[in-house]
């Protein structure tokens, strides 16, 4: 998950021990399940009851309901209730911390005979769309082929790139109009020999495919019901719920999908009769409402809203609220990018690394309960995390070391150099950027703060020739491996407008190490290799200063049962919820 764009990357967290425990469990590698693991129904949630209506308070309205357009966490949470793909993450315990990848619509998590170049999936029996029509391999062909059409521009691009064996946006050349003008992917790429079998053929090995297919972005779309752009507003669903009404920006109602058969689904439950979503509920509003716990809010929850910064300490310090709150790490790691195109002097970058105060960032998002000072670029939730790594002493001295920085700057002869700081124009961004600028000024920088509208922030800084010297970004792994962090962010060969290599680092050693790490098949060894790259980047390249690991706390009404923080979803698990 990328915290980019308008949605991700925000406040909140809980007491460290439990978070890190959760994180550690997740680091333990996730198993790819077989047929037995993939058979429904899912194990019942202890104490769960059926029935009732749940109120869901959300800040952002869903911009996309078409699975192929879903990438951000809000829609990802929703997708767990309505969309199904070939694979999915099944909880192996009731704490949201143990997972395995299992077959969802497929009978297993996928079989490969050649180390990940060819993958074969077989569909289960009795799987249907919400309109009652059966799901066949033709629907999956449609699902994957339409990813190449130009109107699908929001979702993940792993599968497309793997199928086309390219990087960047070149994959679209494989099937420029999608399936809509009569052309299709050849059998040498995607094979659907019968109505139940789907076979992927890649030119290079992609052992991560079961992970990738579990993303909501690769959930199935009905061939018959494919209305192209309009599907984004009114899709057919395959999960336990279907959309009764959706008023963009206002409300949404989910009701039970009667064509969903629990016996085909090892992952999901269907306890609640109806979910009523209300949008435009700011974090403060939803927190207050759920804290107040009156009327309909007793059965209220928010899939993605966190406890707002202002209420955080109140909520965490109230023992009565313990059963109603959940907490965990979000997958995001924050970093202050140093634009390598502008600041070529490493001493200056080191001066920035020493001078930059992290405290303003922590403060702006609600303090230590919401943010944890980061040492490296790898999240505690990802394999290979090294808690002792802290080259700039930020964990000990988060307010920065202006004296040391000033000395370095003097050495470089760049005292009072102009440093353009592009900041996201949100209240938080304004707050931390001013204080960070004050800290940098103490170290002898002439800081120029430049506001960037929140909605276009990532796009502005994503330009290769952007005007900024430093800017903050956050990135989350798409699945719990550094292979979804280091290559996209720090591979110099992917630098392009819109590429997440925001610091524009292009270091030959890093590039070579990435290629090497990508070839390692042993997960533990691979994790160690990625962490080495991370430490090299932070300490020796200094293209970015790690700022914080994002944490969050969520709260629900007193009548909400099955409240669990799911590490893979990065928030409350909607599938397990029931009304007490």
């Amino acid at each position: 998950m990328l915290s980019g764009c308008s949605k991700g990357g925000s406040d909140a967290g809980d007491n460290k021990k439990q978070d890190q425990e959760n994180a550690k469990r997740q680091q333990a590698s996730i198993k790819f399940g077989g047929t037995a693991d993939s058979t429904g129904p899912a194990a019942a949630v202890p104490g769960a009851k059926s029935g009732g209506t749940m109120e869901v308070l959300q800040r952002d309205s869903y911009a996309h309901l078409d699975p192929a357009q879903i990438y951000v966490s809000d829609e990802g949470s929703l997708a767990t209730l309505i969309h199904r793909g070939l694979t999915g993450y099944k909880s192996t315990n009731d704490k949201g911390s143990g997972h395995e990848v299992v077959g969802d619509l497929a009978t297993d998590s996928g079989t490969t005979t050649d180390g990940g170049k060819t993958w074969k999936y077989t569909l289960k029996d009795g799987i249907k769309f919400s309109d009652g029509s059966a799901i066949t391999s033709a629907d999956f062909r449609q699902t994957y082929e339409r990813l190449f059409a130009s109107f699908i521009d929001q979702g993940p691009t792993y599968l497309q790139q793997w199928l086309a064996d390219t990087t960047g946006a070149d994959y679209r050349k494989l099937l420029p109009d999608g399936p809509y003008k009569g052309k299709h992917l050849p059998d040498s790429v995607l094979e659907t020999p019968d109505s139940k079998t789907i076979i992927f053929h890649f030119k290079t090995a992609h052992p991560d495919l079961p992970y990738a297919l579990a993303m909501a972005g690769y959930a199935v779309v009905s061939k018959k019901g494919d209305t192209k752009q309009k599907y984004d507003k009114d899709p057919l669903t395959t999960g336990p719920y279907k959309i009764q009404s959706f008023k963009s920006g206002k409300s949404m109602v989910l009701v039970k999908n009667t064509n969903w058969d629990p016996n085909t689904d090892p992952i999901r439950h269907q306890y609640v009769d109806q979910f009523n979503f209300t949008f435009n509920q700011q974090f403060e509003t939803s927190t207050k409402a759920l804290l107040a716990d009156s009327g309909a809010d007793q059965t209220g929850v928010s899939f993605n809203n966190q406890v707002d910064a202002g209420n955080l300490s109140n909520v965490l310090n109230d023992p009565k609220l313990k059963s109603r709150t959940v907490a965990g790490y979000q997958p995001y790691v924050g970093q202050m990018n140093i634009n390598m195109n502008h600041i070529k002097d490493k001493t200056v970058r080191e001066a920035i690394a020493y001078a930059l105060p992290i405290t303003p960032f922590i403060r702006a998002y609600g303090g230590n309960d919401a943010m944890e000072v980061a040492g490296g670029l790898i999240s505690p939730t990802v394999s290979g995390y090294d808690a002792t790594f802290d080259p700039w002493g930020k964990k000990k001295n988060p307010a920065g070391d202006p004296a040391k920085a000033k000395a370095l700057l003097k050495k470089a002869g760049k005292l009072n150099m102009k440093l353009t700081f592009g900041y996201i124009n949100t209240p938080e961004g304004q707050q931390y950027s001013t204080a960070m600028a004050a800290g940098l000024k103490k170290a002898g920088f002439n800081v120029q703060r430049q506001e960037i509208p929140a909605e276009t922030y990532y796009d502005q800084i994503g330009k290769v020739d952007n005007n900024y010297d430093i800017y903050h970004t956050a990135w989350g792994a798409d699945w719990p491996s550094s292979s979804t962090v280091i290559p996209p962010l720090y591979d110099g060969r992917v630098i392009a407008d819109g590429s997440p290599n925001y610091s524009h680092v292009n270091d030959p050693k890093v590039n070579a190490d990435i290629d090497a790490a990508n070839k390692i098949t042993d997960p533990a060894k691979a994790a160690a290799a990625w962490e080495k790259i991370d430490q090299y980047l932070v300490k020796d390249v200094v293209n970015a200063v790690p700022t914080a690991y994002y944490k969050q706390v969520q709260i629900a009404g007193s009548k909400v049962g099955g409240l669990v923080y799911d590490d893979v979803i990065g928030g409350i698990d909607p599938r397990r919820l029931y009304i007490k």
Partner: protein, 344 residues
């Protein structure tokens, strides 16, 4: 005179001398042998509410004017990030640890939750910024209102038609929406993309957008006044005696529209103060770290403050209410002093 029974006014008496019939005001002036200005001043001085309000308003302006001096004597400035300078006073979320928002002998009004700015100096400078903007908007709108209003009213004809249509057009603008939409445009006109948006650009942009949709009501009033003045004998006389239109406007019309201008401006200024605060509340307008009344207001309505440090709310909140009430009362008193017949 707030005469309970309308003492007969107007009505040209053939028995008095040949000048046009005195209206209530000039009659009073004759009775006392004082100019209307002096009379107004006398009446105003007698209005206790008005005088107190004037002192309050004056106090605010003085505070704004002397903010740097006061801050210097007090030994702090509104830009120091005390949350990083004195971390022992705050928790990790930037909430002052001491009760009542960290009010102490050192920080008289406490510390701002977040970055921990000194509230006292921030309020001083905030009042300074807000008043500066509002005064500038008021002056700009008044000047525009006079120019266009008097021109439309006195010149009449095509200029009147044109100006009146422009007024109609601008009055149909959804003002707030227009402010929101045009602020970034105006700001982008001035700023080089490599530099920080200087505060003055935001200030100028705020003044510009508020001015753009602010001058019409005054212009309308002045148009009406000049239109009726144009028909009056003394203007007619000046015209017949060959005075240029510019001279007539300057010497005859302007002195006669001072009253509506003064009264309207005292009503407009607090309106601009609250409008500016509203823009900052919505996140456009003045932003951190520039101290601004409205921006403090928006900070005061954040959850961090509402939940953890209500004390902070009161400084911008109460001070603004006092200012607006005082200014409105002052406006009423000014109007009454000029136009005693209007009921209160």
């Amino acid at each position: 005179m707030t005469s309970p029974i309308d003492v007969e006014g107007g009505g040209t008496s053939v028995l008095v001398d040949g000048t046009p019939g005195p209206d209530a005001k000039s009659e009073a002036a004759k009775l006392e042998g004082r100019s209307p200005g002096q009379l107004m001043w006398l009446r105003f001085k007698r209005d206790r509410t008005g005088v107190i309000s004037a002192y309050v308003v004056g106090f605010f302006f003085l505070v704004g004017l002397l903010a740097p001096l006061i801050a210097k004597l007090y030994g702090k400035n509104p830009y120091t990030v005390y949350a990083d300078e004195r971390p022992e006073l705050f928790d990790s979320a930037g909430v002052p640890l001491q009760p009542n928002g960290g009010i102490s002998s050192e920080f008289w009004f406490g510390l701002e939750p977040g970055n921990g700015y000194d509230v006292f100096t921030k309020l001083l400078y905030g009042i300074r910024t807000s008043l500066m903007i509002s005064v500038a908007v008021t002056i700009a709108t008044v000047v525009t209102g006079i120019l266009l209003g008097v021109a439309a009213g006195y010149l009449g004809g095509r200029s009147d038609f044109l100006i009146s249509r422009v007024i109609d057009f601008l009055l149909a603008f959804p003002a707030q929406l227009f402010f929101i939409a045009s602020m970034p445009v105006v700001v982008s006109l001035f700023v080089s993309p490599r530099d920080e948006t200087p505060t003055y650009v935001r200030v100028v942009a705020l003044i510009a957008v508020q001015w753009f949709l602010g001058w019409m009501s005054l212009a309308r009033i002045l148009r009406g006044t000049s239109l009726s003045l144009r028909e009056r004998e003394f203007i007619e006389a000046a015209r017949v005696s060959g005075a240029t239109p510019w001279r007539i406007i300057r010497k005859e019309i302007l002195p006669n529209v001072v009253t509506p201008i003064l009264v309207q401006s005292t009503y407009m200024l607090p309106g601009f103060v609250t409008a500016e605060a509203g823009l900052s509340y919505l996140g456009i307008g003045i932003v951190e770290p520039t101290p601004d009344w409205g921006q403090m207001f928006s900070k005061a309505s954040t959850e961090l403050v509402m939940q953890n440090d209500i004390t902070y709310m009161f400084f911008p909140g109460i001070s603004m209410i006092i200012f607006i009430v005082a200014f409105n009362l002052l406006g009423d008193s000014v109007r009454d002093a000029f136009d005693p017949k209007t009921a209160r």
